[in-house]
C-alpha cells in the first residue's frame, strides 16, 4: 500500500496526524486525492465535487457535499457554511469515518459514537438550529427515495411522519394533545439510535486509492 508515499516526517503531516488520528500513509493518500479533486489547487469548492462521476447517482449527493462545507463538522465549534475548504478541513471531515481503535475503552467508544452521530445529525439539521424538524426529516426521506420512480408523494411523507412519531413516542412518552413536539434534539437522536452501533458501521477503509486515472 502507498506506493507513492511522501516522506513521512513532513511537519504538516505530524500536526494533522495528531489532530485527526490518521496515519502518515493515509494522510498522504488523501492528500493526493485532494489534489486530484481540486486540480492541484489549494482549496476545494462544491463544483469540484460535482465532477466525480460515481457520486452523480447517489440520492443524497447534495447533503454529502454540504457536509464537507459545514463548519460544524470542522471540530472548531463554528457554524454555518463555507464556500471552500483546505486540505485540513477535508481531512477533519474524513476523520469522522475512522473506525474506533480496538484498544479503546468504553468511554472513548462512546465519544466516537457521539461524534459520528453528531455528523449525521448535522447532515439532517440543515438550518443549524439544533433540532431536526418534521420538514427537515421529510426532506431526508424524500431524498432517500428520490431515485425510485413512480412514487406517490404521500408515502414518503407518511414514512417520515411515522418515524417522527416514533422518536416523539420514545423520547417524550407523554404529551398532551395540544403540546407540540418541536423537533429531534441531539439527545433524542442519540437515544433513538442507541442500539444502532454506529461506531461499527460508519467506517470507511482508508488505505489506498483505486481509481486508476484522474477522475475525468
Amino acid at each position: 500500500m502507498g506506493a507513492l508515499q511522501s516522506s513521512p516526517g513532513q511537519p504538516e503531516y505530524v500536526d494533522l496526524a495528531k489532530k485527526t488520528g490518521f496515519s502518515f500513509s493515509q494522510i498522504s493518500v488523501l492528500h493526493k486525492r485532494f489534489l486530484q479533486l481540486s486540480h492541484n489547487g489549494e482549496t476545494l469548492q462544491r463544483d469540484h465535487f460535482n465532477s466525480i462521476p460515481d457520486l452523480a447517482c447517489n440520492p443524497i449527493r447534495s447533503q454529502i457535499i454540504e457536509a464537507f462545507f459545514d463548519r460544524r463538522n470542522f471540530r472548531q465549534n463554528g457554524e454555518g457554511p463555507v464556500e471552500e475548504i483546505r486540505f485540513e478541513e477535508f481531512l477533519v471531515v474524513m476523520s469522522h469515518f475512522k473506525p474506533p481503535s480496538p484498544r479503546f475503552v468504553e468511554e472513548q467508544r462512546e465519544r466516537v459514537r457521539r461524534e459520528k452521530l453528531r455528523f449525521i445529525f448535522n447532515m439532517h439539521d440543515t438550518d443549524n438550529d439544533g433540532t431536526i424538524t418534521l420538514d427537515e426529516y421529510r426532506h431526508v426521506v424524500d431524498e432517500l427515495l428520490s431515485l425510485s420512480e413512480a412514487l406517490e408523494k404521500d408515502t414518503a411523507k407518511s414514512i417520515a411522519d411515522a418515524a417522527m412519531l416514533e422518536v416523539a413516542s420514545t423520547s417524550m412518552g407523554h404529551m398532551e394533545p395540544d403540546e407540540f413536539y418541536e423537533g429531534i434534539t441531539f439527545e433524542h437522536f442519540l437515544k433513538l439510535l442507541k442500539g444502532f452501533e454506529i461506531e461499527l458501521k460508519m467506517n470507511v477503509h482508508f488505505s489506498h486509492m483505486d481509481t486508476p486515472t484522474f477522475f475525468k
Binding site: 486525492r33 427515495l145 431515485l147 406517490e152 408515502t155 414514512i159 411515522a162 416523539a168 404529551m175
Partner: protein
C-alpha cells in the same frame, strides 16, 4: 438465528403431569425398541412376503380357511412405521426436555439428545436385537442434512454474511486446510514414534492419516447451529462461525475425495495437488452456480403463482432439493448449492408470494430442520452404541488434543492476518469464541462411515476417534460455552425490533458511505454493493418480481411490512397496541404537526364536521358499496384458492357491519379534527397484496376512484390538518365493539394512536380480549429475520 423452539415451558405444570408424560415416553420407548430391533433388512423381507402372499393366495383357493377377521401384518407397513416411530420419538424427546426447564438451561439440547440415543441404542442391544444402521450415509446426506442446510440458507442474514465474507472464506478455506494437514501430519508422526510395543499404529500410512485429518477438521454446521442457537451471541461471531461451517464443505469434499482416491495408490504428486486446487474451485464455484441457477428458476416460477397460491411453498422446497441433488450428482458441494439457492431466491420469492405462503415456508423449514437435527443427534447416540469400536488410547487422545491445538493456532494465526484487512478488528475475546465454537458433528461421522473397509483396515479406529472428538466437542465445549460467554461478557445478540428510524438510517448510511468512498476514490465494499443493488433494481427485479412490486423501493417495502405486522398485532391483541413501538405514549400526529399561525385564533369554535357535505355523502356511499360487495362474494372454499374468507362466519358479521356503518355515520357527523398517520394509498400493490392476498377475488377499492373522486383524502399535508382518515375512522368505529369484532376487514393500516375521548383511552388500556386470528398467522413471535429487508 431465530430460535426454532416456539414452545414455552409450562411453568405451572404439576409434578403429576410431568410424571405421566415421562411414563408415556418410557412406554413408547420400550414399545418402539422391539419393532425397531426386529428390523433386519426391511425391503427384501417385504418383497419376499409379498411374493409369499401371492403364492399363498393362489394356494388358498384350494384349501378354504376361515376368513381372517383380524390379522396382523407388520411387514406390510414396516419401513414407514419405523420411520414414523423414530420421528415421533425424536419429537417427544424434544417435548420432554422442555418440561424440565432447569435441565435445558444447563445442558444444551444436543447433549441430551445424544444421551437419549445412547439409551435407546443400549436398550436395543439389551433386548438382544441388532441395532438398525440408522446413520447410514445415504440416509444422512440425502434426507437428514438438506432440511437443516436449507433452513440455514434461506434465512441466512445476507448483510452481515456479505460484509464478513472475506473473513469467513479465510477461516473456511485456509483454516480447514491448515487443520487437516496439521492434524494429519502430526498424527502420522505420532503414530510412527511408538518404540516400545509395535502396535497397529505403525501400519497407518501418511495418506490415510491425512484423510482422517480432513474428515475431522471441518467445523460442523449442525452442531454449531444447535449450540449457538442457545447462547444468543452477537451477530458478528455467530455469522463468522456459522458461515465458516457452511463454506468449509467444499474444502472437505475435495480433500476427502482427493485423499481417498490416492490412498490406494499411496502417493500424491505435485500434479495431483494442482488438480486438487482446480477441483476445489470447480466444486465450490460449481456448487454455487448450480444453486444460483435453481434459485433464479424458483424466483421466476414464483412470479406466476398468483392464482395457485397453495403450492407456492412446494416450489421453494422442491427447487432447493433439486439443486442439492444436482450438485451431489456432479460431486460438487451440495451444501453450497443449497445455500446459494436459498439465498438467491429469497428476496424475489418473498416479494411474490402471499403472506400465508411465507409463513408456511418458514414453519415447514423450521419443523423439518428441527426434526432432522433431533434425529441426527439421536442416531449419533445409537450408532455409537452399535458401531464396531476399536479403542486405542494413544490415537484417540492425540486426536482430541491435536484438534484443540490446531484450532487455536489456526484461529489466532488467521486473525492476525485478517485484522490487517478488516475495518473492525477481531478482539481476543472474539478469537476465543471462534476457536471454542469449532464443533465437530455428524458430518464427520458420516464421512468416516463412508470409508471402505478394504482400503482402510483401521476404519474402526478412525470411527472411534471421530466419535470421541464429536462427543468431546458437543458435550464439553457445548456445555461450557454458555457460562464462558457469560464469564467473558461477550456481547450478546440485540433483541430489539427494527424500527423505522433504524431502517431509514441504515439506508442513509449506505448511501453516505458509498458517497464517501467515491470521494476518496476508493472502490470499497460499499461501492460494489451499491453497483450490485443498482443492477439488481434495474434488470433483475423486473424479470423476477411480479407486477408492481418490482419498482417498490426497499424503504417502502419495509414500511408496509411494518404496518402489516402492526395491524396483525392489533387484531390479535384486541386493538390495544399503539404504533410503532410498544412504548405506551400519548403522543400522536397532532403533536408533531406544526401548528398554523391563524389556527389557534378560534380553536373552540371550529365546527365539528370538517368535511363538506358532498364529500361525506360520497364517502358513505363508497363504504356502503364496499360492504355490499364483500357480502356478496362467494363463500365457497376450493382447494385452489384456499380463501380464508373472513366473512365466512355468518350473519353475525352482517349485523356487526350494519351497526358499524351506523356508528361511522354518527362519527362522521361529529368529527373531531383528529389526524392520524395516513394509510398507504388503497391501491398500493403491497396493500392489495396484503389484504387478502390468497384470494384472487379480493375486493379492490381502486375501481371506486374512477367514478367517485374521493378516497384520496390528502391526509398529512400541512394545508389540511383537519382532514381525517376515512378508513381509520371506520376501523375505529369498529373497534368500539371489540367484543364481537372478529376480523380486520378494511385491510391493514396503522391504528390511530389515540381516541377522540380520554375515556376510551382508559378502556383501551384494559386487558384486551383475544380475537380470533382471521389471517391464520400463528403469531408475531420474536422472529427478527423477517425484519430484514428483502435485499441488503
Amino acid at each position: 438465528m431465530p430460535s426454532r423452539r416456539d414452545s414455552h415451558s409450562p411453568a405451572g405444570k404439576s409434578l403429576l403431569e410431568r410424571g405421566l408424560l415421562l411414563l408415556i415416553v418410557l412406554v413408547l420407548l420400550q414399545g418402539s425398541v422391539l419393532p425397531l430391533g426386529a428390523a433386519s433388512s426391511p425391503d427384501t423381507s417385504h418383497n419376499d412376503n409379498l411374493d409369499n402372499h401371492q403364492v399363498t393366495d393362489e394356494r388358498n383357493n384350494y384349501t378354504k380357511k376361515p376368513f381372517p377377521v383380524l390379522a396382523l401384518d407388520y411387514h406390510h407397513i414396516q419401513t414407514p412405521f419405523e420411520i414414523a416411530l423414530w420421528v415421533l420419538l425424536a419429537s417427544l424427546m424434544k417435548l420432554g426436555f422442555h418440561l424440565i426447564p432447569r435441565l435445558s438451561g444447563i445442558v444444551p439440547e444436543s447433549c441430551l439428545l445424544i444421551t437419549v440415543g445412547l439409551l435407546v441404542g443400549g436398550l436395543i442391544k439389551l433386548a438382544g436385537e441388532d441395532v438398525p444402521p440408522v446413520l447410514d450415509s445415504r440416509l444422512f446426506f440425502l434426507c437428514l442434512l438438506p432440511p437443516i442446510i436449507l433452513d440455514a440458507g434461506y434465512f441466512l442474514p445476507i448483510r452481515p454474511f456479505m460484509e464478513n465474507l472475506g473473513t469467513i472464506l479465510m477461516f473456511a478455506v485456509v483454516g480447514t486446510l491448515w487443520n487437516a494437514f496439521f492434524i494429519g501430519g502430526l498424527l502420522y508422526a505420532v503414530c510412527q514414534i511408538q518404540p516400545a510395543n509395535p502396535s497397529i499404529l505403525h501400519n497407518i500410512e501418511l495418506l490415510p492419516c491425512l484423510l482422517f485429518g480432513s474428515i475431522i477438521s471441518a467445523v460442523d454446521p449442525v452442531a454449531v447451529l444447535a449450540v449457538f442457537e442457545e447462547i444468543h451471541i452477537n451477530e458478528l461471531l455467530h455469522i463468522l462461525v456459522f458461515g465458516e461451517s457452511l463454506l468449509n464443505d467444499a474444502v472437505t469434499v475435495v480433500l476427502y475425495h482427493l485423499f481417498e482416491e490416492y490412498s490406494g495408490a499411496g502417493k500424491v504428486t505435485v500434479m495431483d495437488g494442482f488438480l486438487g486446487i482446480i477441483s476445489f474451485l470447480v466444486v465450490a464455484l460449481g456448487g454455487i452456480l448450480v444453486g444460483a441457477i435453481y434459485g433464479i428458476l424458483a424466483a421466476f416460477t414464483s412470479r406466476f403463482t398468483s392464482h395457485v397460491r397453495v403450492i407456492e411453498p412446494l416450489f421453494v422446497f422442491v427447487y432447493s432439493y433439486m439443486a442439492y441433488l444436482s450438485a451431489e450428482m456432479f460431486h460438487l458441494s451440495g451444501i453450497m448449492a443449497l445455500i446459494a439457492c436459498g439465498a438467491t431466491m429469497r428476496p424475489y420469492v418473498e416479494a411474490n408470494i402471499s403472506h400465508k405462503s411465507h409463513t408456511t415456508i418458514k414453519y415447514f423449514l423450521k419443523m423439518w430442520s428441527s426434526v432432522s437435527e433431533t434425529l441426527i443427534f439421536i442416531f449419533l447416540g445409537v450408532a455409537t452404541v452399535d458401531g464396531p469400536h476399536s479403542w486405542n488410547w494413544t490415537f484417540v487422545t492425540v486426536t482430541v488434543i491435536l484438534c484443540l491445538v490446531s484450532r487455536v493456532i489456526g484461529v489466532v494465526g488467521l486473525t492476525y492476518v485478517i485484522n490487517k484487512f478488516r475495518i473492525v478488528k477481531l478482539t481476543t475475546k472474539d478469537q476465543f469464541i471462534i476457536a471454542y465454537g469449532g464443533l465437530r458433528g455428524a458430518i464427520a461421522f458420516s464421512l468416516g462411515f463412508l470409508l471402505d473397509k478394504n482400503l482402510f483396515p483401521m476404519r474402526e479406529m478412525f470411527l472411534t476417534a471421530i466419535i470421541t472428538v464429536v462427543f468431546f466437542t458437543v458435550f464439553v465445549q457445548g456445555m461450557t460455552i454458555k457460562p464462558l460467554v457469560e464469564l467473558l461478557a461477550v456481547k450478546k445478540k440485540q433483541e430489539a425490533k427494527r424500527t423505522i428510524n433504524e431502517e431509514i438510517h441504515t439506508q442513509f448510511l449506505d448511501h453516505l458511505l458509498t458517497g464517501i468512498e467515491d470521494i476518496c476514490g476508493h472502490y470499497g465494499h460499499h461501492h460494489w454493493k451499491d453497483k450490485l443493488n443498482r443492477f439488481n433494481k434495474k434488470y433483475v427485479k423486473k424479470c423476477l418480481i411480479a407486477g408492481e412490486r418490482s419498482k417498490e423501493p426497499q424503504l417502502i417495502a419495509f414500511y408496509h411490512k411494518m404496518e402489516f405486522k402492526q395491524a396483525i398485532e392489533q387484531v390479535e391483541s384486541g386493538g390495544g397496541v399503539k404504533m410503532p413501538s410498544a412504548v405506551p405514549s400519548t403522543v400522536s400526529m397532532q403533536n408533531i404537526q406544526p401548528k398554523k399561525a391563524p389556527a389557534p385564533a378560534k380553536p373552540a369554535e371550529k365546527a365539528p364536521s370538517q368535511l363538506p357535505k358532498g364529500r361525506e355523502e360520497e364517502i358513505r356511499k363508497i363504504l356502503r358499496s364496499n360492504l355490499q360487495r364483500t357480502r356478496m362474494r362467494l363463500r365457497s372454499y376450493n382447494r385452489h384458492t384456499l380463501v380464508a374468507d373472513p366473512f365466512e362466519d355468518g350473519f353475525g358479521d352482517l349485523l356487526i357491519k350494519k351497526q358499524k356503518m351506523i356508528e361511522l355515520e354518527k362519527k362522521i357527523k361529529d368529527m373531531n379534527n383528529y389526524l392520524t398517520v395516513p394509510a398507504a394509498p388503497p391501491d398500493s400493490p403491497t396493500m392489495c397484496r396484503a389484504r387478502l392476498a390468497s384470494d384472487p377475488q379480493a375486493f379492490r377499492t381502486k375501481p371506486e376512484s374512477d367514478s367517485v373522486p374521493t378516497i384520496q383524502v390528502d391526509l398529512a399535508s400541512p394545508q389540511s390538518p383537519d382532514s381525517v382518515n376515512v378508513m381509520d375512522e371506520f376501523r375505529r368505529a369498529g373497534q368500539e365493539q371489540r367484543g364481537e369484532e372478529r376480523e380486520d376487514e378494511q385491510g391493514l393500516m396503522m391504528r390511530p394512536p389515540s381516541r377522540p375521548h380520554r375515556s376510551g383511552e382508559a378502556a383501551d388500556g384494559k386487558d384486551p380480549q383475544k380475537l380470533t386470528r382471521c389471517l391464520s398467522d400463528p403469531g408475531p413471535s420474536a422472529d427478527e429475520e423477517e425484519d430484514e429487508p428483502f435485499l441488503p
